[in-house]
């Protein structure tokens, strides 16, 4: 103990304490999230799920979406949006919305997987809508080439040909798709969250969606064949890089060429 009390005034003590605190918090958080994941279950809904979901909905969502999810002037009705929409919006943390604005942002999910499942069960019970996709459509074993063609036709104009995302009008944007789970990508396509159009099964077939997810996961794991992609944002980031780094090197060489040797 004596040694510890002597060392507590050491200049590095504060840093060590901070690191320890961060590690403990992070570790606890990781444990908590894996506990939640373990509780995840299949897409079948029991009547108790619906009942529990109704309670969660009344407590957390009804302020804006209204009792019975019938909508209000602040938020749309959720009758018939389906379990897919709930699983996407709540599962990616977009709902409950942090504040009003052009677009709901992705943030750490407020509900664990079981609660999300119960909310989805409740909303699905209000009216038929797109369901949570089956595992077989999310196995990332479709045709990546076909998926790439579908992606470039239907998705690339907003989400960027390399799925790096892009700006829309008045503060809205299409997010980057790297790191988004296959399930959430599928649900976004069938439900059309916020300003994204709906890509129903009649437009892009379930197999086509599987191909698109396969393609996205493939480009995510493969990376850019040409080296650093600078965010795959096109002329803005590339131009900035060339102006700063490229011109910088040229200026450095000119200075060296004209300087005297010692």
């Amino acid at each position: 103990m004596k040694a510890l009390s002597q060392k507590r005034r050491h200049p590095l003590a504060a840093i060590a304490l901070l690191l320890l605190g961060l590690l403990v918090t992070g570790g606890l958080y990781a444990v908590a999230t894996t506990v939640n994941q373990a509780k995840a279950s299949t897409t079948s809904f029991s009547s108790s799920d619906v009942e529990e979901g109704g309670k969660l909905f009344a407590a957390n969502c009804a302020t804006c979406h209204g009792m019975g999810a019938s909508g209000s002037k602040d938020a749309p009705s959720l009758v018939g949006v389906g379990a897919a929409a709930v699983d996407f919006q709540v599962g990616t943390g977009r709902m409950p919305m942090q504040m009003n604005g052009p677009q709901a942002y992705q943030k750490p999910a407020q509900f664990n997987d079981e609660q999300t499942h119960q909310l989805a069960a409740y909303v699905a019970s209000l009216g038929a809508g797109p369901a949570i996709p089956e595992e077989s459509l999310l196995d990332e074993k479709g045709d990546a080439a076909a998926g790439g063609e579908l992606f470039r036709t239907n998705c690339a104009m907003c989400h960027n040909a390399a799925a790096a995302g892009g700006a829309l009008t008045r503060g809205k944007f299409a997010p980057a798709l790297a790191g988004v789970s296959g399930k959430h990508i599928y649900e976004a396509m069938v439900s059309g969250p916020q300003n994204m159009p709906v890509f129903s099964d009649a437009n892009v077939s379930p197999e086509g969606k599987r191909d698109i997810i396969t393609f996205l996961k493939q480009i995510e794991t493969n990376g850019s064949p040409g080296g650093a992609d600078l965010g795959a944002l096109g002329p803005v980031s590339e131009g900035l890089f060339v102006w700063i780094a490229g011109l910088g090197v040229i200026i450095a060489f000119t200075i060296w060429l004209t300087s005297r040797t010692s």
């Binding site: 579908l150 104009m157 892009g166 059309g192 994204m196 159009p197 064949p225 040409g226 080296g227 060429l257």
Partner: protein, 356 residues
């Protein structure tokens, strides 16, 4: 100190010239004394610079070898992964950079550190020598005199005529750069063929779209029926005919007179080619019903017949009149009623002929 109170620029403050009005001339300071480099005086330093230059040339050799090894040793077979391609690309780039920069920097360092660096000044020539000028004028005069161009107007005039006519063949050749596009820009594949209305089909697979497939909030990327069967000029036809199909709540549409029957149950079809410079306008926001062009941010309001609400585009996107056939598939009842895409010289003329 000099007296500055008279405002004269000819007085220098540093030289005591107060009271005198002499103009001081700027003295040529000459070349500064030569400063010897380290390598000029110290043989060790010279030896070191020599080694550095050799090292840079050696780096170039290594770079070339890296390039060759990367090119021949890394096998890019059919089953090679992106990681292999990336590795080869990186090594080829690094190898080339070392090979070129090694030689370049080596030569520069050699010249700067070891080659003689004595200053040389070269005197400027006198700007004009009067005798040369007179001689040149005399040569021109001689030419005019000896050709006799002043005395023989027949020769002068025929020469002028020949030179004036000579460029005419070039004009004829430039004419062959055409033909002018004529009316190919003003009509698309959507025009009914032999009375048969063209179906709206999905891009890229070309399957027809049923009106019931288009759910509220949907956006379909559409090509005309038969486009995929074209063998020649497919991309040119596609570039004119691509359409975006969307379904809105019918009550949110505000069709103008004569365009009420161009949509079907809230399903509308608009040309995807921006009227500004022809980028594909396909960024559809299903809640605000805005269509955004990604190139210059022209924004079109779908609820008001794609009126321009922001950006440099000057005309709304052309609407494709659609209906449903006996089997429930969406069809185009006619071609676009105006030329699609950006402006061109004959556009107004073409628009008048379409609508007459």
């Amino acid at each position: 100190m000099g007296n500055h109170s008279d405002g004269s620029p000819n007085h220098s403050g540093t030289v005591a010239t107060a009271g005198q009005n002499e103009v001081e001339k700027f003295q040529d300071p000459g070349i500064p004394p030569h400063r010897l480099r380290l390598a000029d005086t110290d043989p060790k330093a010279a030896k070191r610079a020599e080694r550095q230059v050799a090292l840079l040339f050696g780096a170039s050799v290594v770079g070339t070898l890296i390039f060759l090894v990367a090119y021949f040793a890394i096998d890019l077979g059919d089953d090679s992964s992106i990681a292999t391609i990336r590795l080869q690309n990186a090594l080829l780039g690094v190898g080339t950079a070392f090979a070129m920069l090694g030689i370049g920097t080596g030569i520069v360092h050699w010249a700067k550190a070891l080659m003689p660096d004595h200053e040389v000044s070269e005197e400027r020539h006198a700007v004009r020598i009067e005798e040369d000028r007179v001689a040149a004028v005399r040569i021109v005069d001689d030419i005019v005199e000896e050709t006799g161009i002043k005395r023989r107007p027949l020769i002068r005039n025929t020469l002028l005529g020949a030179v004036a006519l000579a460029p005419l063949p070039a004009l004829a050749v430039f004419g062959d750069l055409g033909p002018r596009p004529d009316n190919t820009l003003s009509h698309t594949m959507w025009a009914p063929q032999e009375g048969k209305l063209k179906r709206l089909t999905r891009d890229p697979d070309g399957t027809p779209i049923k009106a019931s497939d288009v759910t509220l909030g949907s956006a379909f990327h559409v090509i005309p029926e038969g486009l995929n069967e074209l063998h020649e000029g497919k991309l040119n036809e596609k570039a004119k005919a691509v359409v975006l199909l969307m379904r809105l709540d019918p009550s949110s549409l505000n069709p103008s007179k004569g365009r009420e029957d161009w949509s079907y149950n809230g399903i509308v079809a608009y040309s995807k080619i921006c009227t500004h410079v022809g980028c594909p306008v396909a960024l559809y926001e299903q809640q605000t019903h805005h269509l955004l062009c990604p190139c210059h941010q022209s924004t079109f309001d779908l609820t008001n017949e794609c009126k321009v609400i922001f950006g440099p585009a000057s005309r709304p996107l052309p609407q494709l009149p659609i209906a449903v056939d006996d089997e429930g598939y969406l069809v185009a009842t006619s071609d676009f009623k105006e030329p699609v895409g950006p402006s061109y010289w004959e556009r107004d003329e073409h628009e008048r002929s379409i609508n007459s």
